[in-house]
């Protein structure tokens, strides 16, 4: 008389056999559609939320691209100077300058800088030095008929182009025999050739420096980065272009003392060599040899009238500072992503409160806690994934515009967008969990009563 209509629980949702379409597919599509609907029903609010993530992701990618590009550029500059090289340059010592200014009487030549003996000592005493290319740099006017320009006339050795990773564009560099014979031959830089020979081919022509004519035998490619070392040594007085003649010719034509008209009168200085590129066989020992050279020069010079530059050390420094830049950039971008995540959490909490009644209805109609969690979590992930996607697109285009309009090198590595996007998706999950749990933990009775 008291039989029950049913004796057991209904089958669990998972155990139902789907007809044609799997339950999982329906579930995902349904929940996603629902999420998209509720996002669109609060268009402005969702857009502002997404904006936080967009900015974060775009910032991560753009900042990484810019700092990557900057560090690449810096490293390229130092690499052009040669990773195996040590640059030694003559510098006018500060005290000498002072005394000469205060002194009365006829101008005296200031003697400073590297000497041939220094170079000889370095070449002979330090093992592992494969070559030394020393140069004299004299500022002169170079003429071709009516065209003239102020240029650094670099008297140097035949190995100069090799030591500086600096290639010929046309013709040849001067030869050993021309070096030996103090010949009047000149190699123009691209910039000098453009000014002096605007129309005709400079090869085979000649240019005049002071009263001597020099045959043009070659043209170097555009100076570009390789001029950097030069600029660092004396940025203020470096000429716009350089021409190259044999070191021997430079000594015999110009002598070792140069005289210059200055505000205070006439100033003359005697410098044997202005710079030397010391090539080291093994890249590992570059820094150590740099120290040895410093010790040798310290012993041989009364004043510190030289500087030693080691591109490799500068490269290392550049790499270090690039890493630091990237960490700083990454931290800033990370903070903006975090703020974006908090934005998502905020909107999800608002959404949960607003939809309390819906949660109650769904719970009454058979939704389990997990179903509610999934619904809200999917919504949070959609928000952040959409933001991430837009951010990736922006993050890739911004560096492109920076490159085109500001001429900065930017490099978007594939890692950056992938990293930024997955972080944004993760943020959706992390900052979506708490609001979703709160939604699921609501008491159905209370939720249904909510206005």
């Amino acid at each position: 008389m008291n039989e029950w209509v049913f004796d057991s629980l209904p089958p669990a949702p998972e155990s139902r056999q789907g007809e044609r379409q799997s339950r999982f597919g329906w579930r995902v599509s349904q929940i996603t559609r629902l999420g998209v609907k509720s996002i669109f029903s609060h268009g402005l609010r969702s857009m502002l939320t997404v904006l936080g993530i967009v900015i974060g992701v775009a910032a991560v990618i753009a900042m990484l691209a810019v700092s990557e590009g900057a560090s690449f550029e810096a490293q390229q500059q130092f690499r052009d100077l040669g990773a195996n090289n040590i640059l030694v340059k003559s510098v006018k010592p500060a005290e000498v300058e002072e005394t000469s200014r205060l002194g009365f009487g006829p101008p005296q030549a200031i003697v400073y800088g590297l000497t041939h003996a220094d170079i000889q000592t370095i070449r002979d005493t330090i093992p592992g030095v494969s070559n030394v290319v020393s140069s004299r740099i004299v500022k002169k006017n170079v003429w071709n008929l009516g065209h003239s320009m102020n240029a650094d006339v670099v008297g140097t050795a035949v190995d100069y182009p090799v030591s500086r990773n600096y290639d010929l564009r046309d013709g040849r560099f001067f030869s050993d025999s021309e070096m030996r014979d103090h010949d009047n031959v000149v190699v123009l830089s691209q910039e000098a050739a453009d000014v002096l020979f605007p129309i005709e081919n400079p090869l085979g022509q000649s240019v005049r420096i002071d009263s001597d004519y020099y045959d043009v035998v070659g043209i170097m490619e555009s100076e570009g980065f390789s001029n950097l070392g030069q600029n660092q040594a004396g940025a203020s007085n470096s000429a716009p272009a350089r021409v190259f003649i044999p070191l021997t010719s430079s000594r015999s034509r110009f002598g070792e003392t140069t005289t210059r008209q200055t505000a205070g009168g006439v100033e003359s200085e005697t410098v044997e060599l202005h710079e030397a590129v010391i090539q080291v066989e093994d890249q590992e020992s570059v820094i150590a040899i740099g120290e040895v050279i410093d010790q040798i020069l310290q012993r041989r010079h009364r004043d510190v009238d030289y500087t030693i530059e080691i591109p490799l050390a500068l490269l290392r420094q550049a790499e270090e500072s690039a890493l630091r830049d990237q960490i700083v950039a990454g931290a800033i971008a990370g903070i903006s992503l975090l703020v974006g995540g908090i934005g998502i959490m905020n909107i999800m909490l608002a959404s949960v409160t607003e939809r309390t009644r819906e949660i109650g209805i769904r719970r009454a109609l058979g939704a389990r806690k997990a179903d509610i969690v999934t619904q809200f979590l999917v919504e949070a992930v959609i928000l952040s994934a959409v933001g991430g996607l837009i951010g990736v697109v922006l993050g890739i285009t911004i560096p492109f515009f920076i490159s085109t309009f500001w001429g900065m090198t930017t490099i978007v590595t594939p890692v950056a967008p992938i990293l930024a996007f997955s972080i944004s998706a993760m943020i959706g999950v992390i900052f979506g969990i708490y609001p979703s749990m709160r939604a699921a933990d609501m008491d159905p009775v209370e939720a249904l009563r909510h206005e």
Binding site: V5, D7, P10, P13, I361, A364, A367, L448
Partner: protein
């Protein structure tokens, strides 16, 4: 067994039917507001049989809603047991209660409680969705239900595009989706004008004739007069439980 005792106490068994669908046995419910304990239900025992058409009436605060929440597995009794389809619901975990709500119970609310972003069809098939039915089956079932409540031409309308009466019919279709053991309706005509209310009540009569078990909570005598068993609550106790005619 408390269930048996409950059935003994209850003299209102429908003629010709002897299948119990649910029973509350000595159920009481106490709410705690801070240190203050308020007992809303004082040991209620009731048996519900298949095909029952029940109205629960009583003044505000008599415990109608609390009883409905317990019957709807939305709330648990403080003491006593609620059996639904032979299952002791006090033993069930939260997920199982969700399952039972979706599969064995149909809810109809005073304010319809449709989800505004979803259209008529999607609202009707929601219980099927949570029970894990396939999309194809759910669509078909939901369409048939929409037809049955006379909304076949409105299936892609949103709730706010429908009149109150139409919305309540969507809610009824939704409640029928899983062919539940009991349909629970809380003031189903409370928000409707008299004509729409009548239409809804006619629909209830139809469901009753089709053999469904309905429990209606109401203030309206008009509604109560249509039911075959009238339960009156007063101060958390059953004051009156009578079965009308045949």
């Amino acid at each position: 067994m408390p269930a048996l005792q409950a059935s003994k106490q209850n003299a209102t068994r429908p003629p010709g039917q002897n299948l119990r669908v649910a029973s509350v046995a000595d159920v009481s419910k106490t709410y705690y507001m801070g240190s203050l304990a308020v007992e809303v239900l004082h040991g209620i025992s009731l048996d519900f049989y298949g095909g029952d058409y029940i109205s629960i009436m009583g003044p505000s605060g008599c415990g109608k809603s609390t009883l409905m929440n317990i019957l709807g597995c939305l709330d648990r009794p403080t003491t006593g047991t609620y059996y639904l389809g032979g299952e002791d619901t006090s033993q069930l975990k939260d997920d199982e209660l969700s399952l039972i709500r979706g599969a064995r119970l149909g809810f109809i609310f005073q304010s319809y409680n449709l989800i505004q972003q979803l259209d008529v069809l999607e609202n009707i098939e929601m219980p099927l969705f949570y029970q894990g039915f396939s999309q194809a089956y759910s669509h078909r079932a939901a369409y048939q239900l929409a037809e049955r409540v006379g909304l076949a031409d409105r299936i892609h309308h949103k709730p706010f595009e429908l009149s109150g009466g139409q919305q309540q019919r969507v809610a009824i279709a939704r409640a029928l989706a899983m062919d539940p053991l009991i349909i629970l309706a809380d003031e189903p005509t409370g928000n409707l004008d008299s004509r729409s209310g009548m239409e809804i009540l006619d629909l209830f009569d139809e469901l009753h004739k089709a053999g469904k078990t309905l429990i209606l909570v109401t203030h309206s005598d008009e509604l109560a007069e249509r039911t075959s068993r009238r339960i009156r609550l007063l101060d958390g106790r059953v004051e009156q439980d009578e079965r009308m005619g045949v």
